[in-house]
Point group: C2
Chain length 207, copies 2
DNA sequence: ACTTTAATGTACGATAACGTACTTATAGGT
DNA sequence: ACCTATAAGTACGTTATCGTACATTAAAGT
C-alpha cells in the first residue's frame, strides 16, 4: 500500500465510474455525495480514519452512483482496486471485518436520512461538526459556509445563521474559512439525538 | 425455506436485537425504520420482492439499530438465521449476489437522505408511493395518512394535503384507508428527480 | 338502523427555511 | 500599504411545514 496526500476538493470517486483505488484515511475527512440526474446534491456520508473509500468493492462491484470528495485534507494508505480485490479474496477475516464497517456506514446513511427529515439546520450542523471533529486531529476545521451549505443541502445564509447560534452559545469559535470546536459537551447538547447512533454502532461492531 | 404470511404491522426486526429469521418477500412491502434513543423516527428504507430482510447477516452481524416492519401484507420465503449463515458460507455465488443487493439498498438509503434534505412532501410522497407500487401487485395500497406520516416523518395533516394534490392532478385515487395509483407517468412527473436512482442501480447490478 | 371508532378534511397562527440581494470584512497578492 | 477576491454577515418578503385543534365522514360492530 502506498501513502498518498489528499488536498481539499480532490475527487476520489465519481458516479458510475469504475473505482481504481481504495483508501484508508489517516486523520481528515472524506465525504460521500448523493446527487440526482439533474444535479440536486447533498452529502450523505462521512468517511475518516475509522473507515475506507471504495465501499462498492466490498460488495463485489466497481462503482456506485455517488461521488467521493476530500473535504478535510488528509493522508491515506491507498491500494489499487485490483490488488485490493485479490487481498479480499485471499484474506477472509479482512473481508469480514471490512464488511462490518460497511454496515456501520450504512447505519450512518440511515441516521443521516432521519436527521434530514426531522432535525433543524442547527442540530444537523452540530452533528456534522461533531462527526468531523471525531475524524480529524485539528484544532481548526478549514470549512467555508459555502462548503457546509452544499454538504447539508441548505442555503449558505442558513449556515451563517446557524453557525452564529453555535458561536453565541460558546460551542464553537469560527474564523474566516475555519471553525474550531470549543465546547464539545455543549455541541453534544445542541446536536441532541441527531448525533450518536452510528458512533455507537461503530463501537459495538468494530471496537 | 418456509413460506410465511405477514400481516401489516408485524415487527420482523428490532433495534439491537439478534435477528432470528431472514425473509425474501413476495409482492408486498416491508419498511426499515431508523429511530433515535428518544424515539424520533422515520422510514429510511423499503424492502420488497427485489430484496430481503436480515441485511446485517450479510455483513457478518446479527443485528442493527433499525426496526423492520411489515407495511403491506405479504407472503415471504423465510429461513432461520443460523441456517442462512450456513448457506452463505457454503455458497459463495449466493453471498456475492446478496451483497450486491446490499449495495442497492444502501444506495436507496443515500437517495432517501438526499430526498429528505431537498424535496417537498408532495415529491417525497410520490416517490414513496411509486416505490411501494413497484413492490406490490395490488390495485389499492392499504395505507392510512397516519401511517404515511410516520413513514415520511411529517405531520398527518401534511400527508392529507399532499395527497389531495396528487388526487386533484389525477395521479392517484384515494379511498378511506387505501390509495390507488391511477396515472403512473403523472406520478413520475411529480416525483421528478426524487425517484429513480436506486431503481437504476438495481437494474445495473442485479438484472 | 344505530352507535362507535378510526380515518380524513380543514383551519389558523407560528416557525423554519427559502431565494435573493446587498453590504461588510478579511486574507493574500502586488 | 493598498487592491482585490473570496468569505461572511445581514435583510426582507415568500413559501413550506409545523403544532394543534376541531369538524366531518366512512367502516365496523351491535
Amino acid at each position: 500500500m502506498e501513502r498518498c496526500s489528499f488536498e481539499q476538493g480532490l475527487v476520489l470517486e465519481m458516479p458510475g465510474t469504475a473505482i481504481t483505488k481504495v483508501c484508508f484515511p489517516e486523520p481528515g475527512m472524506i465525504s460521500v455525495m448523493a446527487r440526482t440526474p439533474v444535479g440536486v446534491q447533498a452529502e450523505v456520508g462521512i468517511i475518516g480514519p475509522e473507515g475506507m473509500t471504495g465501499l462498492p468493492l466490498l460488495h463485489g462491484l466497481d462503482s456506485w452512483p455517488h461521488a467521493t470528495i476530500v473535504q478535510i485534507p488528509c493522508r491515506a494508505l491507498c491500494i489499487e482496486a485490483t490488488a485490493f480485490r485479490a487481498v479480499l479474496a485471499e484474506c477472509r477475516p479482512l473481508h469480514e471485518r471490512l464488511l462490518r464497517y460497511a454496515q456501520v456506514f450504512s447505519v450512518q446513511l440511515a441516521q443521516g436520512s432521519l436527521c434530514n427529515a426531522r432535525f433543524t439546520i442547527e442540530q444537523r450542523l452540530a452533528r456534522w461538526l461533531l462527526m468531523c471533529h471525531d475524524r480529524t486531529d485539528r484544532e481548526d476545521l478549514p470549512l467555508t459556509h459555502e462548503l457546509l451549505s452544499t454538504m447539508l443541502g441548505v442555503r449558505r445564509a442558513g449556515i451563517t445563521t446557524a453557525l452564529r447560534m453555535l458561536n453565541d452559545s460558546g460551542a464553537v469559535k469560527s474564523r474566516r474559512g475555519g471553525i474550531g470546536i470549543r465546547d464539545r459537551s455543549r455541541m453534544l447538547a445542541i446536536a441532541g439525538d441527531a448525533y450518536g447512533v452510528p458512533e455507537d454502532e461503530y463501537t459495538r461492531v468494530l471496537a
